[in-house]
Symmetry: C2
Subunit: 407 residues, 2 copies
Amino acid sequence: MARIVKKFGGTSVGDVERIKNVAQLIKADVDKGHEIVVVVSARSGVTNELIGRAKAINPNPEDREMDMLLVAGEQETIALTAMALHAEGIDAVSLTGAMAGIKTDLYHTRARIVSMNCDEIEKHLDEGRVVIVAGFQGVNDNGQVTTLGRGGSDLSAVALAKGIDADLCQIFTDVDGVYTADPRIVPKASKISEISYEEMLELASLGTKVMQARSVEFANNYNVTFEVRSSFNNNPGTIVKQEVSSMEDVVVQGVALDRYQAKITISNIPDKPGSAAKIFSGLSKANVVVDMIVQNIGRNGVANLTFTVPRDDSARSRDCVRNVLQELGGGEVEVFDNIAKLSVVGVGMRSHSGVASELFAALGEAQSNIQLISTSEIKISVVIDEEGADEATRIVHTAFGLDKEED
Amino acid sequence: MARIVKKFGGTSVGDVERIKNVAQLIKADVDKGHEIVVVVSARSGVTNELIGRAKAINPNPEDREMDMLLVAGEQETIALTAMALHAEGIDAVSLTGAMAGIKTDLYHTRARIVSMNCDEIEKHLDEGRVVIVAGFQGVNDNGQVTTLGRGGSDLSAVALAKGIDADLCQIFTDVDGVYTADPRIVPKASKISEISYEEMLELASLGTKVMQARSVEFANNYNVTFEVRSSFNNNPGTIVKQEVSSMEDVVVQGVALDRYQAKITISNIPDKPGSAAKIFSGLSKANVVVDMIVQNIGRNGVANLTFTVPRDDSARSRDCVRNVLQELGGGEVEVFDNIAKLSVVGVGMRSHSGVASELFAALGEAQSNIQLISTSEIKISVVIDEEGADEATRIVHTAFGLDKEED
């Protein structure tokens, strides 16, 4: 007998038929004698509908009322999921985030979980019930309902798995797991069976949006092993867990390509102390998240600065930089939208040398010109032309031995 | 400054525009310096949608989960109403039934309010906020959410008015108030400005479905004066209050016509002890609510029995009676669907004689044959042919001096 937390997202509980399907998936584990806690999101689309109605009434709704509104979405699905299990003859009970003991801080719409009191869940598990918990929501010390922000239901699942000391936490989604690359770009991409939290974080932050980074970080902090798998088939998914030494044998776990970046180059910046600081604090005030940064000081005492930003923010970033340059009294800014960021990720890089040169060789073979390079302990990212980026990704994927075996 | 409870039903908060309209109605009172507690229902249609989804998943959903599901409906409207008030610059806060301190017994889907703890509401009122409370819902001693059954939001409003000792409780609906007769039948019907609880109860139970009887009974028990009025215009409505002596001057407050009844006649019942009891306990087990009953014992020792039931239940009632008669060994049953029940209601009947004879005279003038008569202290009901019933209602309305003055 095992304790299992199973989380189903909005697509998995999108309508009556899918909720019945979820009940079947749960039943299979109940029949094996496992103890099950289920976390569900609102039906897909419901949260956006509610937000739409709110904005039509008040363009700037108060956060507290937004939370009061949004929690209604999960409250519907927990009750319907419990009813679906009852229809299968399975004893089950639905709990709101508050009833399930998910305690958060006071920040509405983006609350953090501060503690878990799982007594109520334990009581129901002891009495042989499947417990259905509303994801995405909690309660603060003032008794107010709160929501956990984007990806909050994953966070609820990971926190509950920690709270009840579950043997397994399964995140059901509409993809099979984490792949060595985006299969739409690299047909030979294969599913990764085991991956460390850090690798998952790097891949998630690179556009492989299987899960929000904060849920992975939470799992890392509390050492909660979880599995990402599909609710539409029975294939094993990807296990995300603490790094083990065998993982180092795999030098590169995956190749990620991010097309949603733009490169901004500032040339001839007057070389005064604090110039760069002024530029980046200006961007920060404008809520632009800057990714890669490279600076060169030329022989003539003027600096060149290049960095990347989300492509949607490129025009705003340019305007912002222009204002700062006017203040500094010099410099020109240029925006390049036709770039892509290619990254290779793997904990094995820590102990293996030569990854960078192997990557550069592969990119050379792909005739991709490297515009920027940035590295971390377990990741190397390069900015290349958007044109040919797909082909470059395939070549790099092959170069690191990631192509799946022919069946 | 007054304390006012304002309740808006599902039609009044049916969409974004109507919720904004409700905010305007509340603002008018806030601007006058009043303290306001608002009770809202789910948007019209939402509760039925949720029930539809539940039944598609499980034909016999558990009551506890049904409550968990349905409370989501009001949770949406309280938040949206608060946002609409914020958009008007009015400080407001939404509270679920549980947060508002509406404590109920343990019966899910049809809970009764057992106590009110209005501390949280009082705190917000003290701090100058409009308080928006989810109608129809409460919480039991086990911390489980409960719902109050049909018409539950009216009940929430009346109970809150009692709990905070409100000066006024306004039930906003899609009609202007309580009329002396259904204006679709009697064009000269006029709005009643004041009516006693008992009269309201009799009229409500007679098909003038402005409010469910239980809310009026609750108001009667706790002496809560309330007003029924329209959310679509600014006309004064009908005040429902404890009987005052001046009400006795009005002998008849209203004339009600109920077409949704059927008459069932059983003849030649063997005159054994307990025959009638067997018939009515059979109907009761079949969940048929019997209204008027008349029994005659003939000279030959066989009894005739006539009663009325809701027309939808007439076939079921006939089958049920047939089974009992078979057991008793005799008797025939006949169903008459083409009947109507006409009633005159007024507390003045207690002190005025001759109401019955005046009613019979009017019905004679209308050439309506009286098939059954039943009387209470403040009501006389007769069953007549459905054909001509509208005309009879108009003649009776005129006979008791209820026709409105020409403008």
